[in-house]
């Protein structure tokens, strides 16, 4: 190694240990310090290590009531450790939001059950990547009244973020990959069986959905089985769910509880359940510490149907992961 011009400079590996503990906004500012720091903060290994150090934050999305406006804006509020609000961002007409995966969200605008636009979003960097619409369904897809389903996640082998999109009971499935920047359409084998209950004419609706370790999961009503989609192999699989009698009929969906999928009607982060009290107050309950924390946020309540207004809570980590299509050419290399 050539001797550094500046022998008093702090070693780069130790600088990295300190910088990975900073929030995204400060890191973006410190890119201006020198070229070495710029390259360091942009590097893949730094981004990954930063993500691992990043603490959980809550993202609250708040739909305006339907009579507010014709297309109610959705405001997104980010709560940090001190429950302080910062970094507000608005997406007009957004109706669905799922995530987060490495601090990224998939969001879309749906009007009259028709998908109008969709995008990926990193709230920490404020990057938004609009993605092309998936191919439309063709006639006959309304058979058995199938619904539209989607999932978002990471193929961990190729580090590629993907969106899967399909209509229940319609055989073609589309997968969007960030590296391909296009949708791949394929027809899964025996897929439709997952959506047929014993009474052949009734579709099993999907309930809560969830990403975990390279796969996306949908909870199916009826037998409470779980449908999974592997983002690496791009293959669906159906796995047995919990005992039918143990599931409350008012169950909302799947949540991530530490490293497992749990069936519950709440959201969850950091071993904590996010609950809504009768007074419409958001509360987090840590199942490990048995501690309740008030999140100081009041609303009509969590709703799964955006048309009714309401709000939702997502847990996410600040992330430097970039979803820009082409890196802006480096200024100096």
């Amino acid at each position: 190694m050539a001797a550094s011009d500046d022998c008093r400079a702090f070693p780069e590996d130790l600088t990295k240990e300190i910088l990975v503990r900073l929030p995204v906004k400060s890191l973006f500012r410190f890119k201006c310090a020198c070229k070495k720091w710029y390259a360091l903060i942009k590097s893949h290994s730094f981004i990954q290590q930063h993500l691992n150090c990043s603490k959980n934050k809550l993202l609250i999305y708040d739909y305006g009531a339907p009579d507010d406006d014709e297309s109610p804006p959705i405001s997104l509020t980010i709560l940090d450790d001190q429950n302080e609000e910062n970094n507000p961002q608005r997406f007009r007409g957004m109706t669905n939001l799922i995530g987060s995966m490495d601090g990224l969200f998939y969001l879309e605008c749906e009007i009259d059950r028709e998908l109008i636009s969709c995008a990926l979003w990193n709230p920490a960097t404020t990057e938004v990547r609009a993605i092309p619409l998936p191919p439309p369904k063709i006639d006959g897809s309304t058979y058995y009244g199938g619904g539209r389903e989607f999932g978002f996640g990471l193929d961990p082998l190729t580090n590629d973020y993907k969106v899967v999109h399909f209509y229940t009971l319609y055989f073609d499935t589309a997968v969007y990959s960030c590296s391909r920047d296009s949708w791949r359409i394929f027809r899964p084998k025996n897929f439709y069986k997952s959506f047929l209950s014993e009474r052949k004419d009734v579709t099993r609706r999907t309930y809560g959905t969830l990403y975990l370790n390279g796969a996306y999961y949908w909870l199916l009503t009826g037998k409470w089985n779980i449908l999974s989609f592997d983002f690496g192999s791009e293959v669906f699989e159906e796995i047995g769910g919990p005992d039918v009698h143990s599931v409350n009929s008012r169950v909302y969906g799947l949540i991530l509880l530490d490293d497992s999928i749990a069936v519950l009607n709440t959201s969850c982060y950091d071993s904590s359940l996010i609950l809504v009290t009768r007074a419409s107050r958001l509360v987090s309950y840590n199942v490990r510490m048995k501690k309740t924390m008030h999140l100081g946020f009041r609303h009509l309540g969590l709703r799964r149907v955006p048309e009714c207004g309401g709000c939702g809570v997502h847990c996410y980590k600040e992330s430097l992961v970039t979803i820009k299509r082409r890196e802006v050419a480096d200024i100096f290399d």
């Binding site: 011009d5 500046d6 008093r8 400079a9 702090f10 070693p11 590996d13 130790l14 600088t15 240990e17 300190i18 910088l19 503990r21 900073l22 929030p23 995204v24 906004k25 400060s26 973006f28 500012r29 410190f30 890119k31 201006c32 310090a33 020198c34 070229k35 070495k36 720091w37 710029y38 960097t125 404020t126 802006v328 200024i331 100096f332």
Partner: protein, 167 residues
Amino acid sequence: MASSSSSSKTGLKKMLTLKSSDGDEFELEESIVIQCQTIKHMVEDGFSLIPLQNVDTKTLTKIIEYMKKHAEKTESNKEEIKNFNKEFVKGSFDDQFELVSAANYLHINGLMDLLCQSIADRINNKSVRAVREIFNISNDYTPDEEEKVRDEHKWAHEGGEFDESLD
């Protein structure tokens, strides 16, 4: 492995000597020092006098203070340890950097975490100019280049005054 655990059961406290780069020697109980992975491995290899060529006396004294306190850690004195940690990270940036280098060399993970987080918290709201000074970095951008880098994330440079102080 089996022999080392049986020797600790005999009740006799095994002592170790740490020697700083200035030549000063510190005698400590083995149970305190094994928080440090580098020394633990040397103890397992049979060393009892451990020369630390990269750690001067001033830094080593601080590190020993940390290891002694953290060896006392129990369920009941969490608050005390927390206060100790708070005081421990109060030094100048240069002292803290010395400690980071030593903690990294000695592989004391808890200390490394404590120091890096505290430095990060202290520089979080600093201006770019202050951070350059603190880390001894010379600005190698041309004014044009710096302007372009700033424009990549304009919003990150907005939102109030940043701290220009160097402590």
